[in-house]
């Protein structure tokens, strides 16, 4: 049981580090939202559940924290990305698709 907890916590910690690295290296706000949210959600959930597995008396409260992170982190990152788009932040140079602008044009044609 202790080995399983260490493995799950190790996966989570690795994903937390990769989230920080992606946030540092990516060229654009939207890429950074994607890196900083997906990696950190999985990493934090896995770390917290791994600590709950290693210490069985703490499991339910750790699971509550994990479910809270899992449900609120996408909401805050979605509203941050939407705010970045609405406040006029430019996409990076190599971007090939902008679905939001296509949708605006489609709605103006209707």
């Amino acid at each position: 049981m202790h080995i399983l907890g260490i493995v799950v916590t190790g996966i989570g910690v690795t994903f937390l580090f990769l989230g920080g690295l992606g946030l540092f290296r990516f060229p654009d706000v939207y890429n950074r939202v994607q890196a900083g949210t997906k990696c950190t959600t999985l990493g934090a959930f896995s770390t917290v559940v791994g600590v709950g597995i290693m210490q069985p008396g703490w499991f339910w409260k750790a699971l509550i924290i994990g479910i809270f992170i899992l449900s609120t982190n996408p909401i805050s990152s979605h509203s941050l990305g939407r705010a970045a788009y609405k406040s006029g932040t430019k996409l990076t140079e190599g971007s090939v698709v902008d679905k939001a602008r296509e949708f605006e044009q489609y709605r103006e044609e209707q």
Partner: protein, 85 residues
């Protein structure tokens, strides 16, 4: 503290330092907001891990309240960035 926990804490600290550098050098305001979002989630995970290492149950309560407050603050910050006041 075993060698495994030292490795885990240093990996978490490295991710925290990288996102802190992005918060210092972000070109626009949403960059800094995204960096703060990532930093709060990393800090919640590291609080739980630190509570396990030090053997204190109170750290779980601290992590829960911290994630709640950071969620509310980030939604308010996104609203401010979107509408202007």
């Amino acid at each position: 503290m075993s060698i495994t926990m030292i490795v885990f804490l240093s990996l978490i600290g490295l991710g925290l330092v990288l996102s802190f550098l992005r918060m210092l050098s972000g070109p626009t305001a949403p960059d800094r907001a995204v960096a703060v979002d990532t930093m709060t989630t990393i800090i919640v995970a590291s609080l739980v891990l630190l509570g396990f290492i030090l053997g204190r149950y109170v750290y779980l309560d601290v992590a829960l309240v911290y994630s709640l407050i950071s969620f509310i603050g980030l939604v308010a910050l996104a609203r401010f960035l979107e509408r202007g006041f």
